[in-house]
Amino acid sequence: MTSPWLVVGASPSAPKYLGVALARRPAAKTITTNASIRLFDKHRLDYYFLSDHVACGKHSGEARQMQTNGTKVITLQRVDDALRTRGVETADLKLKAVGPGGHAELVRGTYHHAGSLSGNWITQFAINNGADEIHWVGLEGYASTDDRVVPDHWDEAPGPPRGQFINHRCAQPFLQSCIDHCPDIHFVFYGKPQIQLAGENLEMVQ
């Protein structure tokens, strides 16, 4: 019996491929983060990760609302007043992050500060919770650069100016390490990535 997970980020193709992935794996567990909570008004959302303080300012109210529908909200463990400031003090799960910052490599069974990217956190959660099939939706990375900031999210929010640097420093190494360290997991990547990924256990859907 497989344990598929849909790990959903916020890149521009997320709305399109969420439908494709759900059609393929309708019983998959679902996890998303930040603005992509709004993609789940019609679909079941099992887990919602919210930690980035900017995103908390925008989405903590929606997170609490989703909790009333059964969604489990996940954040990172911080001191109590910091959780209250972010509005996530009622989160169902508070992950204890370990390791130095910027450690962009999966350490299975732990939650590493993998470059502070929310997409990396939700991937870690799926892996650490028994996924044997992971569908990466909306995790294509950033197209923005210092010279040219473009809409890098499905809601047309701009990417960070150092988007491509973040891709190569944090996103690509981490996702590739997941592929490398988890040969028992089948990864399905939806969309056109801004990063290079490869592996026998990786399937690309474009």
Binding site: S51, D52, H53, V54, L76, Q77, R78, V79, D81, A82, T85, R86, A97, P100, G101, G102, H113, G115, S116, L117, P160, R162, F165, I166, R169, C170
Partner: protein, 151 residues
Amino acid sequence: MIPIQQMKFVSLTPPAALVDAASLTVAELDTKGFDHCRIVLWLGATDIACSAAKITESDTAGSGHADVTGLVLATSDDIEGNTSALPTATDDNGFFFFDIDLRYRKRYLDATITVGDGTAGGYYTVFAVLSRADKVPDTIAEMGAVEVVAV
């Protein structure tokens, strides 16, 4: 004698905007007239670790700074004998103290605090508490404040 009332507070990095993938702008501290200093790094909301946090010293204002051995986070031991740690991405609202016996140090101190490359960054402030003064501060201005009330 109330010890705290004999100390001078100095703002080195006032609370300001988010900092991400950069070093804080920290004012140099002139410690003349004092024998002890505590430099405080105070984090606000943060989503990224610091890659460096250390104190430097110099005899010359504005130049010639070198690291103070024992005041380099992640290299130096803390007061409990463990290797000290840099601020992490979940150390919101935390204090990091650098305690300095100024009798054995150069006159000018500075702090190098470098924030890692995150997506949002964090809020940081740095200030110094100077104590064991040659001449005890006894005015509001000498304490480094705009206003002081006491009961």
